[in-house]
């Protein structure tokens, strides 16, 4: 087994784990952590699988780079929203409404 494939496996585990975390947590920060871990796992799968047995591939790497930036933007945005929300509601979880 190549290292690439191994990291892909790691990515798979990370994704599953993070998904669980994302689903069970209500604290927004914890969810963001889960999101970032999931993102990491996804990136590992992307690069790992693409490079598996074929050597380095700049394309997935570039994609991941983009993905990282997007992830940080999203995380920052979420944190900003959370802090604003927290300032008015004093809670870190989202309110339950009857709609779902």
């Amino acid at each position: 087994m190549s290292a690439d494939r191994l990291y892909a496996y790691v990515g798979a585990v990370l994704v599953a784990l993070a998904l669980y975390a994302f689903l069970v947590h209500t604290h927004v920060l914890r969810r963001l952590l889960a999101f970032n871990v999931m993102g990491g796992g996804t990136f590992l799968i992307l690069v790992g699988l693409a490079q598996d047995g074929r050597g380095p591939d700049p394309v997935p790497q570039a994609l991941v780079l983009t993905g990282i930036v997007v992830a940080v933007s999203a995380t920052a945005l979420a944190i900003i929203l959370l802090r604003r929300w927290f300032a008015t509601s004093q809670t870190t979880s989202l309110p339950e409404d009857g709609s779902s």
Partner: protein
């Protein structure tokens, strides 16, 4: 072989830190673990021959995200009233 062992170990640690980051009771500890996770990811990227990603992960994933989260945590923790623990189920994203 040694590389593979290292990779395996790194993989395990990655998973462990990630789990710790996500499931630690203390959020602050979780964020710190997340920063560690980010650094380990950077390491993983180097193992995957992706130095660009390693750099980016270190700077952005671990550094910046960590800083953002830490700042937020400080902010939230100072202000926390009674943190509703996970028993208050919120369906949010309906996921």
């Amino acid at each position: 072989m040694i590389h593979l062992a290292f990779d395996g170990l790194l993989g395990l640690v990655l998973v462990a830190t990630a789990a710790g980051a996500m499931f630690s009771r203390d959020l602050f500890r979780g964020v710190v673990l997340f920063v560690v996770f980010g650094l380990l990811m950077a390491l993983a990227w180097t193992r995957l021959q992706a130095p660009d990603l390693a750099l980016a992960e270190a700077a952005i994933g671990a550094g910046l995200t960590g800083a953002l989260l830490l700042d937020a945590i400080g902010h939230l923790r100072r202000r926390r009233r009674s943190e509703p623990d996970d028993s208050s189920v919120s369906p949010d994203t309906s996921a």
